[in-house]
């Protein structure tokens, strides 16, 4: 039967005086080669198995700190469109509403429209019934929604409700 060294982690921490294991994440750290500290058999304590022996307590711990450098599994992504700059103010602007007709958009949109009009009396509001609306009609590629908004002179758009 092969001699084995069996050590609980708790016991090893006690022996080395380590308070607790810690993790250091360095997302931009220089590449560190992966190292694995093998147990040095020349210093490993001898364990004499007995019938009753289930675990053995070594007189010396044999390990070294390890750094693992690994790939981020989320992979690359390609940005082909960037978000346009925001407006400096909504004063005098034309604000369009685009609705998926879901999740109480028929109630939230009128309230937003009212609040915006009160805050920006010179803003022009174009309600959602002036454009394609409903989930099936606004999520299909090439739905023409962008063209509809441009034709209406929209300078900002509020889309909802996402849920």
């Amino acid at each position: 039967m092969k001699k084995t060294l069996s050590l609980t982690r708790r016991k090893m921490l006690q022996l080395t005086g380590t308070v607790g294991a810690g993790a250091l994440l360095a997302a931009c750290a220089p590449k560190v080669e992966e190292t694995v500290a093998p147990v040095d058999p020349t210093v490993a304590p001898t364990v004499v198995p007995t019938e009753a022996a289930a675990t053995a307590v070594p007189t010396e711990a044999a390990s070294a700190p390890v750094s693992l450098t690994v790939y981020n599994p989320t992979g690359s992504f390609r940005v082909t469109q960037t978000f346009v700059p925001r407006l400096d103010t909504l004063d005098g602007k034309t604000i369009a509403f685009v609705s998926n007709d879901s999740w109480e958009a028929d109630r939230t949109f009128p309230l937003i429209q009212q609040l915006l009009q009160e805050r920006y009396p010179t803003a022009t509001i174009i309600t959602s019934d002036n454009f394609s609306h409903g989930t099936d009609r606004i999520t299909v590629a090439n739905s023409g929604l962008g063209e509809q908004l441009l034709e209406a002179g929209a300078q900002a758009a509020i889309v909802g409700n996402a849920g």
């Binding site: 989320t74 940005v79 409700n161």
Partner: protein, 463 residues
């Protein structure tokens, strides 16, 4: 959109879904969501005070919000370094980090180090930067599936070089635009990709088509390895996190999906395999993928003409069960669409061979039998609220509704343990086409097989 600053009124917990939607169109993956309104606000008759109190957030979305990324291009994530007092500790810390970052599935992962990924890359002669996913990446998030990123995922799940060419073919298939991954990867249906492998490679990589073929099997581990890899690709590259990128209410069998081989040896003389039906020859290594959302095991006695018909009736009764998913996408529901798949009948070899010897059934006869006996009665269509769905397909009102437009479109494959006392019906979600693609092997494939045999021992004799 259209060069117009836009903000999205979003409920609590839905920001990532919105971001994924924008990413799918090539925008950076932080969408214009400034604030999440409480979920209660979005139900019927709700109190809209939160909206009134936070109108400034709506305004900020149009006037103040700034994205983190402002330039077009390809963005690569940095390598990640984790430390520990010894190897075990470092490995544990890595697993904790991957869980916190939602890069793991709950099972432990192995470290995807450069060395390990390099080893797995020997499974193909494609350049690691080769993009497998089409423009737009793995939807909805849009992460790019390169050969390297697939090798990273395989390293995490304990894959080997010989799994890589198969995974490349699988990802080609599941990201094929005809499969409509943007639907089934995000849908509320609990959909999984079912992957069928045909050709000599199935045995070579130790993929099962017999006992326990859909579950864990130490003699045929490829199904679990590849299935888990697919899941992590959907999650890590595609952003399919429960309740966030994927809205599947239950999400069953997603840990390992369903990756299995057709029992080609057990397929009776005169019957074609799934790959042959789709125009390939038996010596070609083919991946075929479809979307499945539920499964039913049927127990039976077989061996005589009568009991064999009874077996088929059991499967037909499952095929005809209330399941509007087979009618999900009217564009797919066409008599001349060979890629329409309403489900898979897994027929064990014993029954298949008996259907030929006792009933004199060709595969086409079995398809016709199943089709004829799986119509949904009109009363059931009405009682289950599916009238509108059925009529939208162009089916006649008042008449029983079939499982596919024609019997030829019923999909049957031989698979299952030798005892053959059970069959399996895997019901599909018709949100996209069934897609097949060929597996390309590297020039050093034979050497890889020799190494696999040295590492794992001889190939198992059971199928």
């Amino acid at each position: 959109m259209a060069g117009i600053p836009t903000m999205v009124l979003t409920r609590q917990g839905f920001t990532q879904v919105v971001s994924n939607a924008f990413a799918g169109f090539g925008f950076p993956s932080d969408g214009p969501v400034v604030y999440e309104f409480p979920m209660e606000m979005f139900v019927k008759g709700s109190d809209l005070t939160p909206l009134q109190d936070n109108i400034d957030k709506v305004i900020a979305g149009l006037t103040e919000w700034t994205p983190k990324i402002t330039e077009k291009g390809v963005y690569d994530p940095d390598m990640v370094t984790v430390e520990g007092e010894d190897y075990r500790s470092a490995q544990e810390n890595l697993n904790l980090l991957f869980l916190r970052n939602q890069w793991r599935d709950g099972f432990p992962v192995l470290p995807p180090t450069e060395d390990q990924v390099k080893r797995i890359l020997t499974g193909t002669n494609l350049d690691p930067s080769t993009e497998i996913s089409p423009e737009g990446g793995v939807v909805p998030r849009g992460g790019i599936a390169t050969v390297n990123s697939l090798a990273v995922i395989l390293a995490m799940v304990g894959g080997r070089p010989e799994h890589l060419p198969v995974l490349i073919a699988i990802v080609k298939a599941i990201t094929d635009p005809r499969m409509l991954m943007q639907s089934w990867n995000a849908t509320t249906c609990s959909v999984i990709p079912a992957v069928i492998i045909n050709g000599p490679i199935a045995k070579q990589i130790r993929l099962g088509s017999g006992y326990g073929m859909l579950g864990p099997d130490p003699l045929h581990p490829a199904g679990q390895i590849l299935g888990r890899a697919i899941r992590l690709i959907q999650q890590d590259l595609g952003g399919a996190l429960p309740g966030n990128g994927t809205m599947a209410i239950y999400g069953g069998m997603r840990s390992t999906n369903a990756v299995f081989a057709e029992d080609e040896e057990g397929t009776p003389e005169g019957w074609t395999t799934i790959a042959e039906e789709r125009g390939y020859s038996r010596d070609q290594n083919i991946v075929t993928v479809t979307e499945i959302n539920s499964m039913q095991n049927c127990i039976w006695d077989f061996g005589t003409e009568q009991t064999n018909n009874e077996c088929l009736m059991k499967i037909a009764s499952q095929m005809g069960a209330t399941n509007r998913n087979r009618w999900s996408h009217p564009d797919m529901w066409k008599a001349d669409n060979p890629n329409l798949c309403s489900g898979l009948f897994l027929c064990p070899r014993g029954l298949a061979q008996s259907l030929v010897s006792e009933n004199n059934y060709s595969k086409g006869d079995v398809k016709k039998f199943l089709w004829d006996n799986s119509f949904m009665p009109w009363e059931e269509v009405v009682a289950t609220g599916q009238t509108e769905v059925v009529l939208e397909l162009g089916l006649p009102e008042g008449e029983a509704a079939p499982v596919t437009p024609t019997p030829e479109q019923v999909k049957i494959m031989v698979a299952g343990g030798d005892q053959s006392g059970h069959g399996y019906w895997m019901a599909a979600v018709v949100q996209g086409d069934m897609v097949s693609t060929e597996i390309e092997l590297p020039p050093n494939w034979d050497d890889m097989m020799k190494q696999a045999e040295a590492d794992w021992g001889p190939l198992p004799t059971s199928h």
